[in-house]
């Protein structure tokens, strides 16, 4: 009886930590409305040159060569989906590492890490707030793209797409945790996050199909969660396939998620302990 009451109270406390971390981060975001507008709209400007390039090179909205490789000749929705999913990389990957750094800059990291709670719940709160804002930005970019480029999206596919996005976000959480750990130890996680962003941008099929890369680059690309997320979401949205057709890709994404999450949690706990002992937590 007593144990059960204790367990209930622990559960409530942990939920309280996650909830308050989420609210705190959302308050930060709401304090800078220009940043909200920027992330909701401006990433579209980054892929418009690719659409204009397509029009100049093929003289229309269909490419026969593109259709041979990807199964669809429509390069505009291909580019849009690539860009929207890649925006999660930009916001989540940099967001988590920077979130920890921001606490250090503001002088609150010591207090956060000294709080009598499991630090994992603080990270879950941070991750949830980053995913929530990323999803709002992605939805806004997708809606604007649909209106601007006349894309057809069946609402029926949005549920499985949402499921895949969650799986993709989980993989990014794992990477973010590793980055947050690096940030605690080496303080400058920005360059590492940027470099990972470059790897994603080149080796994952963000702007072009993965088949257009050399074999060694394709193998490398298949270790990236974004690759599978893009292949699956494009199959649902552009080719009209279902889960049974892409179950192998879903399985691969799931395995990558598990590996990254386990590595992330382990590394963060280990480095947190190490920095606490060395007394360098608040250094920046």
């Amino acid at each position: 009886m007593l144990k059960s009451a204790y367990q209930q109270s622990t559960l409530r406390s942990n939920f309280f930590v996650v909830w308050n971390e989420l609210i705190k981060n959302l308050k930060f975001l709401l304090a800078y409305p220009t940043i909200i507008v920027f992330w909701a709209i401006f990433p579209i400007f980054w892929f418009i040159p690719f659409i204009l390039q397509g029009q100049a090179f093929v003289g229309g909205l269909q490419s026969a060569n593109f259709a041979q490789i990807t199964g669809t000749g429509e390069y505009v929705p291909f580019i849009v989906i690539g860009a929207v999913l890649n925006s999660y990389v930009n916001t989540l990957l940099y967001g988590m590492g920077e979130n920890i750094r921001r606490e250090a800059y503001q002088g609150t990291l010591d207090y956060v890490l000294a709080a009598p709670c499991n630090k994992v719940y603080i990270l879950i709160g941070k991750a949830l707030s980053e995913s929530l804002s990323s999803t709002i930005f992605a939805a806004s970019q997708l809606t604007i793209s649909v209106l601007l480029f006349g894309m057809n999206i069946t609402l029926g596919v949005m549920l499985p797409v949402f499921f895949i996005v969650i799986l993709f976000i989980l993989g990014l959480y794992g990477m973010s945790l590793i980055l947050a750990a690096v940030s605690l130890m080496y303080k400058q996680s920005y360059d590492i996050a940027e470099s990972i962003g470059y790897v994603f941008y080149i080796f994952a099929p963000v702007r072009y199909p993965i088949e257009s890369l050399p074999t060694w680059a394709q193998i490398f690309g298949k270790l990236i969660p974004l690759t599978y997320a893009l292949i699956i979401v494009r199959s649902f949205m552009l080719l009209g396939t279902n889960l049974s057709t892409v179950y192998l890709e879903v399985l691969a994404l799931l395995i990558i998620d598990i590996v990254l999450l386990l590595a992330g949690f382990y590394l963060f706990s280990w480095i947190e302990e190490k920095t606490k002992k060395s007394g360098t937590i608040s250094h920046h």
């Binding site: 400007f45 390039q53 400058q188």
Partner: protein
Amino acid sequence: MDKSNKEYGLREVKCPTGFNWSNLKAELKAVWESNLKDWKIEFAYPVSFIRQLISPLVFLLPFLIYGLVLIGGRYSENLAQLVGTGDVVAFIFTGYIMMGFIGTAVWAMGFSIRRERWFGTLEAIYVTPSSRLGQVLGMALHSTVHQILGIIIQFIVVYLTFGLALKIEGILPALGIFALMMIALYGFGIVISALGLILKEGWVVSDSLYSIMMILSPVAYPLIVLPTVAQQASALFPTAPALIGMRSFLIENYRPEVVGNVFLHLLTLGAAWILFGIVVFRLTDVYVRKRGMLKKF
């Protein structure tokens, strides 16, 4: 008991003022020192230095691979109809090499002041007897050299991987166009750095302007595919005329999308942007100092 400067071992230095040779020499020295300072900071972070050096290549490759996948080769019939040449590799490469320099204007110059503020050294720099623009121009010089290094890497990789067919005899006039474009871009960069003095979230403005300029510049497509309003707006920025001018000297059979004297166009833009930049910077400078906003961020 008062002691003289000589007794304290201090040397009196005369600060040159007004528009004369010794003042210009002193300002140029300040620009050079600011440039050296940026290199020293950059070399202190080797990972960041290497990442920034290869980043132009990272952003160029998707344009090239995507272009090749779209047409299934390196020759586009449609591009040839629009501008006379169908070689997409040469077209994209000559376009993209300019993009890094927009970054120089928007990011390096725009953030020179902001960065000093982060470091807590802005007030110290502001009380030195040199022009505030020297700091901005020093950063611009550093970033320009940095971008040139990036272009050399881009050239080597693209040449070895895809092969490049450019007219060697066109390099000299293309460099002339490049120099004129840089003057105008420096003016634009000065305007952005002035905005960095007042805006708390200056990177949003910088990134937004960079994105807009990227669309208005015919980097990976000819200007003709843009809507008419956008084509007209692109004439206000130096990148569009510079790209068209450089391509006509560097690419065989290239037919410029816009008729007119590119040199004259760039000269006018250069004078206008530099003048506008200096006026905006001066006004903002006076405004922030009067309001005591220098240290706020």
